[in-house]
Structure formats: C-alpha cells, structure tokens
C-alpha cells in the first residue's frame, strides 16, 4: 500500500467574492522511500498541496490517505497529533525560535510527543543534530549560525520525532548555491537511509536532485516523471 494517496483532491479558497481554485482534482500516489519534488510556477497550487500533505490544511473535496489513515474528516486535535508523529517540516525561512539554542529548537517537537514514542528524548535531539553535522553547535542560538547551519537545525528538528515523511517547502530558497547543494545532499543521504521526502521548489536545479518530479499548473498535475 502506498504511503500517501490523493484521490481527486480539490481545494477552493474564497477570497472576497471570488472562488480561487487552488487544486482542481489531483490524483497522486507516493510510496515509501520516495524522494519527490513538486514544482510549478507561483500560483500553481504547490504550496496548497504541501499544506494539505502536511495536515496543516484540509481539502475541499476528494480524499487524502496517509499511511492507511483517511486524513480529511479528522478533527484539529488528531491533525496536530499526525503532524507531530508522522510529519517533519522544513521551511524556506528556517522558522527556528529566536534566542533559543539549536538543541532546544530540536527538542521542541518532543514537548508535544504525548504518546512518549521517542525514548530518551534528550539523547535523541543530540543524535539528530550530530547526523546533520552540527554536533559542535548544540548551544548556539540561530543568530550565531549561518543560513546553511540554521537550515540543518531545522532538518534535525523535523527528524527528531522519527516522522514517516519529510516535507520541505523551498528549503533552499534563502540559501546560496553552494549551501543549497549541501542541504540537498543531506536530503539525498536521508532518502538513501530510507526517509520519504517531498520537496516543493521552483528551481529546476533543485528538483533535478530528486528521484521523481511532479509539475503542477493551475491546480492540476501536468507532468509526473521518474528521474
């Protein structure tokens, strides 16, 4: 069974008097261990899709099944729990808490690990930071870190709860080319180790690094290729 299954998914926003059709019937399957890039021009619906995949938003119609669970129809509490257990987010702007050390930033999702899935949380946070190569930056605050380092802290934060998928929204958008490649290398390594990754980007060089690319236009998938 596929890890992610979207069936005829639509999303319509109401902006004033106009209905904005962000997604107009998307069908997609993502298997475990895939590294998928979603591309498209701005306004193509890729951000909306990522929000829905990340359980931050619900579709207007259609079906979203994540790891066997039908997501649409769940209440906010359950969605929060899914975000905590199954999804790791990496954002374009890093979105780290200011004046909070790298370690404390990474520990943040563990605060909301209600089921206590992660044993030895203190060690886990250090472990994932070590995995992204920041073992010597544990107590640095974000403003003392370079952009690449900040994004690696964000990746560590996304990994700490052992999610089923890593969702990245323009993760290299604020980084220079060299640093971008470093970050992408981390994603490729993680994927090689078995992590399912979905990455949204508008940069062709970035999407080429993935193993499958989907292109959206006007809320529909117009291209789905294995690289």
């Amino acid at each position: 069974m596929a890890l992610i299954e979207l069936k005829n998914l639509t999303k319509t926003y109401r902006m004033g008097d106009i209905d904005v059709h962000a997604l107009r019937g998307v069908d997609m399957k993502v298997e475990e261990r895939e590294f998928l890039a979603i591309t498209g021009a701005s306004g193509s619906g890729k951000s909306t899709m990522l929000n829905i995949l990340g359980c931050l938003d619900l579709p207007s119609s259609g079906e979203y099944v994540l790891g066997g669970t039908r997501v649409n129809g769940l209440d906010k509490r359950k969605l929060a729990d899914i975000r905590n257990e199954k999804i790791g987010f990496v954002f374009q702007g890093f979105n780290l808490l200011a004046r909070t050390s790298a370690l404390e930033n990474v520990e943040l999702p563990l605060l909301y690990d209600r089921a206590g899935r992660i044993k030895e949380p203190a060690r886990k946070a250090v472990e994932v930071l070590t995995r992204v190569g920041l073992a010597d930056r544990l107590h640095h605050e974000p403003n003392k870190l370079s952009g690449g380092e900040q994004q690696r802290v964000a990746i560590a934060r996304a990994l700490v709860n052992e999610p089923a998928i890593l969702l990245a929204d323009e993760p290299t958008g604020n980084l220079d080319t060299v640093t971008s490649m470093e970050v992408i290398d981390i994603f490729r390594d993680l994927n090689r180790q078995g992590m399912t990754i979905i990455l949204v980007t508008h940069e062709p060089e970035i999407s080429r690094q993935a193993r499958r690319a989907i292109e959206l236009r006007d809320g529909r998938i117009i291209k789905d290729v294995v690289l």
Partner: protein, 405 residues
C-alpha cells in the same frame, strides 16, 4: 506537554522581555501591596482599639442620657438632660449585679496655678472611680467618700495637667483655681496615655462629683453614670437590671421609650470593630479595583505578546502542538507573571504596612491567611485575564501564523 517544560518555556519568555514583564506585573504588585498594607494596618488598628477598650475594663457599663440604642435621630445621646445624682444612688442601692457606681459630671474650665494656666476637662466622680477605671494614683491620694459628701474643694490631677501646671515640681498640697473656684491638689494619677480616639486621657482633673455639680455645674443634671458589673459575663444581666431600675426611677410607662441609654464595653468594641471593618472593606474595594486594572494590563500585554509571537505559535502548531497546548502555555505565562507580581506585591505590602504602622504608631498585624489569599487571587487574575489572549493564540491558523511577518 509536561508541566516542567511548560513552566520553563513561560519563564524563558518572561525573562526575554524583562522590562515589559515587570511593567505588566506593576498593576498586580500595586494592587496586592495595597491589599496587604491596608489589611495589616487595619487589623493592627482594630486590635489596638479593642486592646484599649479592654483596658477600660470589660465589665464596664455607661449610662448616658438620651435615647436608647445607637443614633436616635432627633436626640443625640449625651446631649440630653435626663440623669441626676438620684439615679446613681438608686442604682447603687438597688442593683444586685453591680459592684461600683459613679456619677460623672463633666465640665471644661480654665485652670490657673500660679503663673501657669491650662484649659482642661474637669470631671466630678465618686471616690471609687479609680477602682472602676483601674487607674491607680501615682502621688498623694484620691479623694474620699467624705470629701464627696462634704463637697470638698479637692482635686486630683491627670499626669499631663500636673506636668503642665507644675513642671518638675510636686503639686500635692498646692492651690489651683478652676474657673473661679479654688481647689487643693491632693493627688496625681498615673499616666494612662491616649484613648482609642487618640486623645490624651491624662489631660484631665478629677474632683468630687458633688463639688463639680454644685460649684461648677447647674446643680441638677449629671453627664453619665459609670457602673462596673460583678463580672464580664454578668454585664448583659446587669444592663437589664439597671434598665428596670432606671425606668422605674424615671416613671416611664410601658410604651414609652427609654430616656437614657446603656452602653457596655462589648458594644463599644463592636462599634469600633465595625468602623474599622468598614474602613478595611472600603480600602479593599479600592485595592480590588487596582487589581482589576492590573489584570487588564496583563490582558493588554499578553495580546501584544501573542501578536509578536504569531510565528512561534505557527511553528509550534506545525510541529504538533494541539490548540490546548498553546492555550495552556499562554495561560501559564499569564499566571506566572501575575503570581510573580503577587509575590513582589506581598513583599512591598509588608514593607509598606510596617512603614505606615511606624508613621502613625499603630500596630501591624500580619495575617498569613490574607497573604495566602492575595497570592492565590493574583494567580486567578492572571488566568482570568490571560484567557482571552491565550484563546486567541490557540485559535491561530497555523499556515497564516507561519507566514506572519
């Protein structure tokens, strides 16, 4: 989310904005401090007053002319002429629950001794007055029953009067003039200090009731009768007995109101207590308003804080915080701010109470219950006024919050 980390997160955000947190607390600090200070001083004053009333003797009864009960509308108690020496004698003769009776005839007069003179109160009483008031003589002696019967022109000076008229000298045997009447000083009373209204009890001259009544007064009406009951427990019974005797003496028909009133120390005590209670209540209301304002201050700053931290809230929601987690986080922050304010307020209040107590030389009673209640109440205020901002934070849309600039 564990309590320990919740409190840690809250403390961290409070420490990040030290100045703002302190200003937020200020309302609560002032509110709690005024509650603590006012109640401590109020309680202290109350106990001072009841202590002074106790020192008068708890088995004391006072019969005053005028309407019974408190605050007759048309006739103020004490200003009426209804009591005579005969009333005092009747009570002494007939009442069984009474040990001492003394009429009191009060006059004010200019007192002249050699080159010094002083305006003071002259009270005509019976020879047993020192026993009733448990007020010993310091030098010389009090006048006797014989002096009272003989309308002797003898006087016993209060300590203040003695010091003023005879600074550094022994006034015993000296001659003084009260108004136009010459008196011989036979004794000086020990110092008694201020009474509960704060006036000097030693600024007084005692003379035989008869002498004051006939030489200085109108020869008929006396101001009050002071009686001591056999014991404190019998005060109420003695009051009933005296009332019956007085009504008979004044030939009052069954439907007529008393033309006199009887007050006991317990009543005086209650009256004084109710006055200070009123004061405390009133001041507490003022303090309550300042606590309310403090609470609104907390709400205000928390709303600002929620707006400022929109992105943080978005991050927390994205990584799996439930709405309830965000709500609790902000509530705890508000509660900690107000509890810290409460704590500082308690300290400030205790210091203020001590300072006020010294300034007005009143005792300060520190009541642990008041402190506990103020502390608890400041927490409640924080949670109450923190709820709306916290609710607002929890209801944020995570997508919009994440992209908030």
């Amino acid at each position: 989310m564990k309590w320990k980390s919740l409190i840690k997160v809250a403390l961290k955000s409070i420490m990040k904005n030290r100045m703002r947190s302190f200003l937020t607390m200020l309302g609560i600090i002032i509110g709690v401090a005024s509650v603590i200070a006012l109640i401590s001083v109020g309680r202290g004053t109350q106990s001072d007053i009841s202590g002074k009333i106790q020192s008068l003797g708890t088995n004391l009864l006072m019969i005053m002319p005028g309407a019974s009960g408190f605050g007759g509308v048309s006739r103020g108690a004490g200003s009426w002429h209804t009591l005579t020496m005969a009333d005092a004698e009747k009570i002494e003769k007939e009442a069984t629950l009474v040990t001492q009776v003394s009429p009191v005839v009060r006059r004010s007069a200019q007192v002249i001794a050699g080159r010094n003179n002083w305006f003071t109160s002259v009270q005509g009483v019976a020879a047993n007055y020192t026993i009733i008031r448990s007020w010993p003589v310091d030098r010389g002696a009090f006048f006797t029953d014989r002096d009272v019967k003989a309308l002797a022109k003898v006087a016993v000076l209060g300590a203040t009067v003695a010091d003023t008229l005879y600074p550094g000298q022994d006034p015993i045997g000296a001659r003084i003039r009260v108004g136009n009447v010459p008196f011989t000083v036979v004794g000086v009373l020990s110092k008694k200090g201020q009474n509960m209204m704060g006036s000097d009890q030693d600024d007084i001259i005692f003379a035989p009731a008869t002498t004051v009544l006939f030489r200085l007064g109108d020869g008929k009406w006396i101001n009050s009768i002071t009686v001591s009951a056999v014991s404190e427990q019998e005060t109420e019974a003695a009051r009933g007995e005296i009332e019956t005797i007085m009504r008979r003496a004044h030939r009052l028909a069954g439907s007529e109101e008393n033309d006199f009133s009887i007050r006991t120390q317990t009543e005086l005590n209650e009256m004084a207590t109710s006055v200070t209670k009123m004061m405390t209540l009133l001041l507490s209301a003022v303090a309550g308003v300042s606590l309310l304002v403090g609470g609104i201050g907390i709400m205000n700053i928390m709303l600002v804080s929620v707006t400022e931290r929109t992105r943080e809230i978005g991050i927390r929601l994205a990584i799996g915080a439930r709405e309830a987690d965000v709500l609790v986080q902000f509530l705890i922050e508000a509660a900690i701010i107000s509890l810290m304010g409460g704590m500082l307020g308690i300290l400030l209040g205790l210091v203020t109470a001590e300072v006020i107590g010294r300034a007005i030389s009143a005792s300060v009673v520190i009541d642990p219950v008041t402190i506990a209640v103020s502390f608890f109440f400041s927490g409640v205020i924080g949670i109450f006024f923190g709820f709306y901002p916290a609710k607002k934070a929890a209801a944020l849309n995570p997508i919009e919050a994440l992209h908030y600039e």
